[in-house]
Symmetry: C2
Subunit: 218 residues, 2 copies
DNA sequence: CCAATAGTGTCTCTGAGACATTATCCC
DNA sequence: GGGATAATGTCTCAGAGACACTATTGG
């Protein structure tokens, strides 16, 4: 029985200029050497505790990033997706604030542009974006794109970019309040022009490693 | 590099006696020969088009079932989950009306009982049940457990078993109406005692292979 | 006619959005 | 003070649940 090629690929997503971007790396080896692709590679049986661990390793080694959020997306398989033979890729997606990304290492591309990617990486990317947008509707997932501290108007903008539509300010604040996962940083305000500064918030410690779900969507 | 053991496992779920059950098979080979486990096996590189195809093959060959619904759940990996070595299992879950299951072939166990299962099959089962219950809140997924035709009271009961709580009859019917995916079978009623018989419905053709999602949960 | 369940009409209350008002900054 | 955005109060309308009532069967 031919061995199956087992790899892990990571869709690293961030927000830049009010748009959702994916981090791509030029491939160091064949196949598709030099082509921009999702960070990925072989599983290391000797050192990886599981595929999640392998995904963390790839982000650390190839992009220098320890993501605040990393979740398994799905696996992609078949004889044709990799020219080397029958393969399985366990795909993950990671969310990071853009401040964590050094653009020396990676290339950021708009997820909605008509990207050409090798293998079935376009399908993987599309699945990741769909998952993120879907979960954004009823969870605190977008907070991982917003950085450690943020104002409510900034967070609302993050949600709006992900959902692709403007949100009602009063309702948005009611929902954030209902989720009860943010804490105001006493006395810390953020000014951005000739107007009232906004209160700065952060995730409560209990929610920094865990999603908060909403009953009825955002 | 040691090859990675690649398998597919399927969580086959059905309703019986108003309870959610999982289909188990006695394992034919080592490891855990003779122990009840999730249907599963090696991927066949020569004949399987992908892991979904492999899952279908296992249900067909081992349980004689062609499921109306089969979805990838997640993959499970690591050095310890299989005594043979570092392994990956791509897990799927399938929904079938209990009428399709011949109990000669399989064993049905209550998913909420404290089952002992080999490998990490208990984790896989738990993940499948959680996914099913979660999706039941806002989709037509439970219809695949109800059989080809059913009455609204029957379908409501299916939803109630999955959600673990009684539902409001008026709201439930409003939602089913709003989803617009059922069609009454003209003149066909189902009587079940000394009372008014219920209208029999089926899924509209367009929804037999595709889920219908709700904006605001059921 | 009675018991039992199917199916529907309608009231109420919660909650989301729209709108308006106040607060607080820089110029 | 004026302009801009932050933050909050409040009105309205839609939708979900509660309740009640009608419909239709077997006994």
């Amino acid at each position: 029985m031919d061995p199956i090629i087992c790899t892990v690929d990571v869709v690293l997503l961030t927000l830049q200029d009010d748009a959702l971007k994916v981090a791509l790396l030029k491939r160091e080896r064949e196949p598709y050497q030099g082509v921009a692709a999702l960070p990925g590679g072989y599983i290391h049986v000797e050192s990886d505790a599981d595929t999640h661990d392998a995904a963390m390793r790839m982000l650390r080694d190839k992009a220098g990033i320890v993501p605040p959020y990393l979740e398994q997306l799905a696996s992609f398989s078949g004889p044709a997706r990799d020219p080397r033979g029958w393969s399985i890729s366990i795909a993950y997606y990671a969310l990071v604030p853009s401040a964590l990304i050094s653009q020396q290492h990676v290339l950021l591309a708009d997820v909605d542009s008509t990207l050409q990617l090798p293998f079935d990486h376009k399908s993987i990317l599309d699945a990741a974006v769909q998952r993120l947008r879907s979960k954004s509707q009823y969870s605190s997932l977008p907070c991982y794109l917003a950085g450690e501290t943020f104002t409510l108007p900034q967070l609302q903008k993050v949600y709006e970019v992900l959902m692709g539509e403007p949100l009602n300010k009063v309702s948005f604040r009611r929902k954030m309040d209902e989720m009860d996962m943010l804490e105001a940083i006493e006395g810390k305000m953020m000014a951005s022009g000739a107007h009232r500064p906004a209160q700065v918030y952060r995730l409560k410690a209990a929610y920094r490693k865990r999603l908060q779900l909403l009953e009825r969507g955002l």
